[in-house]
Symmetry: C2
Subunit: 400 residues, 2 copies
Amino acid sequence: MIKFLKLSSYQKALSFCELFLPIEVYEEINVFELNNRVSFEDVFSKFSLPMSNRSSVDGFAVFSEETFGSSENTPVLLKLQGEQKVNDPPIEVKKGGCVRVATGSSLPDNSDGVVMIENAKISGDFVEIYKPISYFENVLKKGEDFKEGSVLVNKGKRINFRDSALLAAAGFETIKVYRKPRVAIISTGDEIISYKEKISVTKIYDANGPLIANGIGKYAEAFFLGVVKDSKKDLEEKFEYAIENCDCIFISGGSSVGERDYIEEVIKNFGEVIYHGFLVKPGKPLLLGKRNNIPIIGFPGHPLPVMIHLNLVGIPVLKKLGGDKNYYPKSNKGILGDPVFSIPGRVDLIMGYRKDNLIIPLLSKSDYISLAAKSEFIIKIPEDREIILEGEEVEIYLWD
Amino acid sequence: MIKFLKLSSYQKALSFCELFLPIEVYEEINVFELNNRVSFEDVFSKFSLPMSNRSSVDGFAVFSEETFGSSENTPVLLKLQGEQKVNDPPIEVKKGGCVRVATGSSLPDNSDGVVMIENAKISGDFVEIYKPISYFENVLKKGEDFKEGSVLVNKGKRINFRDSALLAAAGFETIKVYRKPRVAIISTGDEIISYKEKISVTKIYDANGPLIANGIGKYAEAFFLGVVKDSKKDLEEKFEYAIENCDCIFISGGSSVGERDYIEEVIKNFGEVIYHGFLVKPGKPLLLGKRNNIPIIGFPGHPLPVMIHLNLVGIPVLKKLGGDKNYYPKSNKGILGDPVFSIPGRVDLIMGYRKDNLIIPLLSKSDYISLAAKSEFIIKIPEDREIILEGEEVEIYLWD
């Protein structure tokens, strides 16, 4: 009557992403909209930046050796020979002279350094230099930012806004990026009502659909296929649609044994169940399956374990499908401020926040959505620990 | 001929956001698309969750005192009186008995705790209980997650994916959020060419337009108004459009004194220049102005200072306009791994990354975009420091 699951180590869930390959399909995206997209190829620069030596300050281009010995009291006098306009090719400096330059302008020919404007003063046809400079001081040398033929972003890198500046500076108007994986989201549960209906003691509103859709937005495109109410046929129809149109299936719910049974059955008809049940709290009934390269995750019904396993198992899978080479969840270490207790043999995942640089666990009976909303990260109590005392180091996973 | 700016403390730039008020305009957004939006109002729950006492585990609802004294060797025997279905209102338990419950099902009437399935075993018409429970153990009490009339999210809170689950569980199909501020982005510079043109030694591609558009995407809507080539009239036209249609103006460029002059002039015609020039490196010529509640930021021409001041000055302003109560840049402390040098009297902002939990500065002549792309954060060297040695604590600002 009551089925005991054959529980797997949670380590298997954490490495579920390894079973899948990136979907090698690209789209060409304008450089104004690259943030957070994953580069589909190694992007090589077509020229060097800067293309010539440039001044990195406002000031005067000089022969550096002619500034030696200068000081506030004994300035060196150099003849002002002209101005290097930002848009002009390099003009020339002759011995005993200097040329005014602005940040970014070409370094005048022959000169080998720039005296900053703060350390000089124009005095008639001359410039008083108050401070010596070293060889090529305040000069950005040709190719110092990047050299022709060097890689600007690697295939599989998630592009940040600084990368987008680099790519734009290198003259790319568009970049090939991985298409975002498409995720079919299905909520199940006889007790779920629509937002139009009035709540009652035996009913709940669906939190998991919005939770998953919002949680994956950075990494994937969400397709909410709706709520399945305890009907195997309805779930099969949604699976058929999902397999035709999506790259990944995230189901939530099925808190009763009967429900979980038919969800497992449907997955087996369409693909395979790889793990069902983990040595972890919360979220023991987590179900992981697949059909070819389509990951299928059956999350538990309560939103808290959905959040946790979406973060630690679901999003890494989506990153992997989406070409991101850096797909594991971001973890960190910290010193515990309060003791935590667990049961050896299972991983405990506890909400937490930071206070005075200490990790404070948000202990509770387990299931508060309001608590998760306030938490800053997830604290991991490994399988081999029964208690971790304050002052000990723990691993934390940041919310994605 | 050369204008020395009257330089302001960088602290003034960091608090520029304080000069502006949130734009009190909302839009109603579906709960599936709330991530990263800012709540326009305090959202109150219309009911308590859970609405009644519920089991937080799979197991057997009991009178807790009847489990006292039970153990592996001396189990307590309780009559199995039925099953509490998740969707049914509470049934009743009678003394000497128990009722099977699933995670999330209502707690049967009279019972005051749940024995986990792992600590019990069905044996004919009876259940053997192997472990005592305390009063209301494994029960989620009515209203323990949130109570009717409590605030789920406050006005001015940026909603994360866990908040969206909370709001959905509380039955909200839509939420009022602040409209994202609209940002006019203008690049200036005679030397800027379009992506269609071939690069030459005196020309550059515009990196700042894409940089700003990508950098602000999470907080604002970007309107790129194009490149102005050293034409006051062209800039005035773009300003007119921007003031009519946008909430904020971000200009970049103007590396030559002449260019900066006409940018300053145009800002003065449309509004006021509040600061021009800061005691900071890089990005000394940063210009901050406004027209009523419209912030106007004139970034320098080089992408590196644009990145830094976009992060530390520009984005906080956008967060403030967008209603976010938590608008200051996220800062953190860390231990320096290598010494850094500065000039007292100015703030130095240096790229950095973390290695073995130490803060490593990416020292360079200053201006590498490629370096910024690789960096993880900005290290701040305060005005009163000339040198900070390895082992000392520094403040870092995380990239937004």
